[in-house]
Subunit: 313 residues, 2 copies
């Protein structure tokens, strides 16, 4: 079983406008709709679309939980969310279609009750077993200590399950202490975590140096995502793979990284070799980027043959 | 009985931000909440707060009608809304508290089904009787002809009920043909209706000239609202009253005009003399402007004694 944990879900409320927005004035929008989000939920939906055995767990705000539950039921995603007083955060994303500009007004959402964190840890203790995979990913809601992924990770690692992690800064530094099986940062996240200035043109040597810093702190395998430049995979046996991208028109980059992680986990959970695992990762990321929301199975499978995987070390 | 008709209700979704908004960037908001709106609904709520016998009628979109119904039940407002396919329009109002700036992103909402307009006219035919008051106010939703207030007005006038109207442009010109008992324009609305350039400093003679144009088209009594300058009342027997304002801090001007109309109708419905009717109009308008949403009875009564009413002609 794969478990994804989402401690800071979101409702993205998309507002589409056709003209430039004048602040302080009356403007009109052409369409608006809600999309549920949160990195763990995104990954779970893609794994579910791939018909893998996945359950999304986490915390939802009492006042607006229905949109999540309704969607989970609609797509048949197993889920176990603990309910917190208040609302899950709502992010308003105003998309100006005329100049392809996105303005975000992001909310804070509920303050997490300690009891819900205990509930989650308890649930993992009771349910996770050897060879299960647990994905902890994304930011955390208010009231949660940045030790949380480390605390959850300890339980997971003690169960001999695989810990998969996608986060940054203190959350990442802390969780590295329990030696997660794989992490999936990008270069900006690594720079932010190590408080190094980010630049566009890191050399391969510089990248390897950063990866080694992560390994020293506890990372076992690292999937380095580089957007439209593809990705690199640094394994614990010190081999390095370069992974290409599929061709397509970017429709929506939200969830592409989460889909990539989902694709990687799909490969691991289905005992694919590393080349095919990396192909699934890149296909899932690309397929989501080329579609309105998260990619479905056919969209993912269709891209697989386009993905190049080259062992460079 | 007083009936208010709302053909273009709205849900105002208020988003409060504490800092300047950067378009194209990620910003954060501190709070958000929904307020139901629509000029007829606002007037009905104030009349209901004054414990008058009022029923709000109109059309609501199927997909988001619950927030209205819930609020009507909560405050005990009689209502009869016909349900249309789609959503009632949602207006996003982004309030930047740091510079007191309001940016609106307004929606269009449902396209009105002809059957619902027939239902409304039918309901009025069946229910309205002599001495009832019917308030038609505000803009109309997509798919409604700007003859609608005239058509409703004809039914109302034939029943010997009083027609009260607050609208502008073609809606106003058309409804004037059935000689509404009272209309409540401001100078900008009159200028827009007659396609005259608006200016800040109309003389009394110029104002009287505009009022006479409205009377020639069919207006019987006219309550001219002038915001913080108070209002003037031009009656069908050619007397003119100047009405002052209460002192207070402007908190929220939304619904102040609708409250003013509600106060006037309260006076008429309760057989108050014109001076006290005008006092109620000004008190209701002021009390709503000085509070977060629509004024309650106590807030209205407390301002009454501050309102000056002077017969100037």
């Amino acid at each position: 079983m794969i478990y994804t944990i989402t401690l800071n879900p979101a409702i993205d409320h998309i507002i589409l406008v056709d003209k430039n927005i004048n602040l302080g004035m009356t403007n009109y929008y052409s369409n608006d709709y809600d999309v549920i989000g949160g990195k763990g939920i995104n990954a779970a939906i893609v794994l579910n679309n791939l018909e893998d055995n996945v359950e999304a767990i986490g915390i939802l705000g009492k006042d607006n939980k229905d949109i999540f539950i309704k969607k989970f039921n609609e797509i048949g995603l197993k889920n176990n969310f603990f309910i917190n007083e208040g609302s899950t955060r709502v992010n308003y994303k105003i998309k100006n279609l005329s100049i392809n500009q996105e303005t975000e007004l992001n909310g804070m959402g509920f303050k997490t009750q300690e009891s819900n964190l205990l509930n989650i840890k308890d649930y993992i203790k009771k349910n996770v077993s050897e060879k299960d995979i647990v994905i902890v990913t994304g930011s955390i809601a208010m009231g949660i200590n940045d030790n949380i992924y480390k605390e959850i990770g300890e339980i997971v690692v003690n169960k001999k399950a695989l810990l998969v992690c996608d986060c940054k800064n203190e959350l990442l530094k802390n969780v590295l202490e329990v030696k997660p099986y794989i992490i999936k940062p990008n270069l900006e996240e690594i720079c932010s975590t190590f408080n190094i200035e980010y630049k566009d043109n890191f050399s391969f040597d510089e990248i390897e140096n950063l990866i080694n810093k992560l390994k020293i702190l506890g990372a076992r395998n690292i999937l380095l995502s580089m957007g439209s430049d593809g990705s690199m995979y640094f394994s614990e046996d010190n081999s390095v793979y370069k992974v290409g991208v599929a061709k397509g028109k970017l429709v929506n980059s939200v969830g592409a990284g989460d889909s990539m992680l989902a694709g990687f986990v799909y490969g691991i959970n289905n005992n694919l070799d590393i080349e095919n695992t990396l192909k699934y990762a890149a296909s899932c990321g690309g397929a989501t980027a080329f579609t309105e929301w998260l990619a479905n199975k056919k969209e993912i499978i269709d891209l697989l043959e386009q993905i190049s995987v080259t062992k460079i070390k």
